[in-house]
């Protein structure tokens, strides 16, 4: 079974991040990055399906600049066979639909049996890239999947709804699923595997290499960000100041008042 896993190296803001004065983004000093939590689950699901099938490969694909290579290397260290990174400076700040358009180029030429995306990326929280990609590729799709059983040509999947209700859904291959946390227990890479990841094949290409020109890319963009700001917490929380003992005492008082 050939499974493609689109993975994203996500941005994590530290406790003291600051907006750039022109509002175009966040000061890089306050930014860390990691492999998107959801993508660790989709990758694990892909590895398990490949191993159960006994043949095939897992290809991790990312749309991102050089820094995003870290996420791809993490995926290779955990067991993906091959990595593809697509980038061009035009993609800076690309929205979910533009990223999906680029992924469609990279995923399409692999002709996979299955594409596994995460339900969402923890920084952008679009929850949209996977299903947009399925649209571009005309692949049957199921979103928010918490269980997969495969018989080689079709899957029976569990789709998680509001309130934790589960719907069982059958879909034939090829297909695209978006994977929810908790579906499995993502593995950790061994130190040895982390070292060896750099020896695995990694291709770097541009949207143009995939046959996507600037006009097509621009046409695919779904939204334009025109302002970025700190949230207006309005009335917000009353912040309890002081030592841990002060806070504990105050919380005890509030609880007592409210519970009487």
């Amino acid at each position: 079974m050939k499974v493609v896993v689109p993975v994203k190296q996500v941005v994590v803001l530290d406790d003291e991040f600051e907006l750039l004065p022109d509002g175009s983004g966040v000061d890089p000093d306050g930014i860390e990055s990691e492999l998107n939590e959801w993508d660790t689950f989709s990758l694990e699901a892909a590895l398990q399906l490949r191993d159960a099938a006994g043949d095939g490969e897992v290809v991790a694909i990312t749309v991102g600049d050089e820094d995003a290579e870290e996420g791809l290397l993490a995926a290779l260290a955990k067991g993906a066979d091959r990595g593809v990174r697509v980038w061009h400076d035009e993609l800076q700040g690309a929205d979910a639909l533009a990223v999906a358009r680029v992924l469609a180029g990279a995923v399409g030429r692999e002709s996979p049996d299955l594409v596994l995306c995460g339900v969402q990326s923890s920084d952008a929280i679009n929850s949209a890239t996977g299903i947009a990609l399925a649209g571009f590729l005309s692949l049957p799709h199921v979103a928010v999947v918490t269980g997969i059983a495969s018989d080689g040509s079709a899957l029976t999947v569990e789709r998680e709804l509001e309130g934790g209700l589960v719907e069982l859904v059958r879909v034939s291959l090829p297909a695209l699923l978006t994977i929810q946390t908790g579906i499995n227990e993502p593995r950790y890479a061994t130190l040895r595997a982390i070292k060896q990841a750099r020896d695995k094949p990694m291709e770097v290409c541009s949207p143009a290499d995939l046959g996507i020109d600037s006009a097509q890319l621009a046409a695919s963009i779904g939204a334009r960000r025109r302002r970025l700001a700190m949230p207006d917490r309005g009335g917000g929380a009353e912040i309890i100041e002081g030592s841990a003992a002060d806070v504990a005492a105050r919380i005890a008082t509030i609880v007592k008042e409210r519970m009487d």
Binding site: L13, A100, F136, R226, A237
Partner: protein, 321 residues
């Protein structure tokens, strides 16, 4: 090219509440967007919901008959394509729900349309303007959709007050729209699995002590369970603790867990992701403790403290000794 199309949702014979919230959002924008407000429902028996959807401000209720009994993403996508072709709306409003997330992004992508998910506020500036969170909801961002004939927006549930449901006497036209949907489904429904009942019902508790990933290790959970007991609280958790298998699912608060409304919700080490907030934002008093001053949970809390939850636990325990 004018007007607003609202995509209402039903599941297992019930209209989902968010449908009426979408109608509120649409009526607020209608005057500026121009054109009519139409509400559509794609379902095997859409006529059941027509009366309630004909709320004040709605000009037309459109029913699309689905050939399958349950939600099916490819059927919904084709139906919405058909509706967009027919109405040519400027704006399509749907919920940021599991069903809508399963097909609306595909409709936006393939049609080269405007699109934004998890929208929390709407405006108009020569075209639609939408606000949503950015950078893990620690920031907010404003978007527009230049050059897009139709823009599809997914609105966060619980942000707009629900419109009063129609009582069957409203003036809205009702139109059954014929769209060829046979053979469009590409997935097959295989039944539902109900949520198993747990050892406790956290929705009945007056005081919840809720812990999140800040607890760090499985071995630390027992300590907070004991603290909860001594404080007279019931322990609840955020999803990662359930995903990790540390705590049974019945204790999970949030969109995919339980919706709770206790008198006091004391959240320790929970960041306040939208899906968590969905389950507790209407608690009477929310107290949040988090080491990160920018954690989104402080946006809904009544009281907050920026301290380590373990230090707080030390002090609370001492006071109880």
């Amino acid at each position: 090219m004018a007007g607003i199309l609202v995509l209402a949702e039903a599941r297992r014979g019930e209209l989902r509440d968010v449908s009426l919230e979408l109608i509120t959002a649409a009526t607020e924008l209608k005057a500026r967007a121009g054109g009519e407000l139409a509400v559509a429902l794609i379902d095997a028996t859409p006529e059941r919901y027509v009366a309630r959807l004909a709320a004040a401000g709605v000009d037309e209720v459109l029913t699309v008959r689905s050939p399958v009994a349950q939600f099916e993403p490819h059927v919904s996508a084709r139906a919405v394509e058909g509706l967009i072709e027919r109405l040519r709306p400027t704006l399509v409003l749907a919920a940021h729900s599991i069903d809508a997330l399963g097909f609306v992004p595909a409709v936006a992508a393939t049609g080269g349309r405007g699109f934004l998910s998890d929208v929390t506020a709407l405006g108009w500036d020569d075209g639609p303007v939408a606000i949503r969170g950015a950078y893990g909801d620690k920031l907010v961002a404003e978007y527009d959709f230049p050059g897009k004939a139709t823009t599809l927006l997914l609105l966060r549930a619980g942000t707009f007050a629900p419109a009063a449901a129609g009582d069957g006497g409203g003036g809205a036209r009702v139109t059954e729209v014929a769209i060829e949907l046979d053979g469009v489904a590409r997935t097959e429904h295989g039944g539902y699995r109900e949520v198993p009942a747990g050892d406790v019902d956290i929705t009945k508790a007056d005081f919840l002590l809720s812990i999140g990933r800040g607890v760090e290790e499985k071995d630390n959970i027992e300590r907070f369970e004991e603290l909860a007991r001594r404080l007279g609280a019931t322990l609840s958790v955020s999803r990662p603790l359930v995903d990790a298998g540390w705590v049974p699912g019945a204790r999970q608060v949030g969109q995919s867990g339980k919706t709770v409304k206790p008198r006091v919700y004391l959240a320790l080490g929970i960041s306040g992701a939208v899906q968590h907030l969905a389950g507790m934002r209407t608690a009477e008093t929310i107290i949040a403790v988090n080491t990160d001053p920018e954690a989104p949970i402080f946006g809904v809390a009544h009281y907050g403290a920026v301290i380590d939850m373990f230090e707080l636990a030390d002090e609370l325990e001492q006071a109880l000794d």
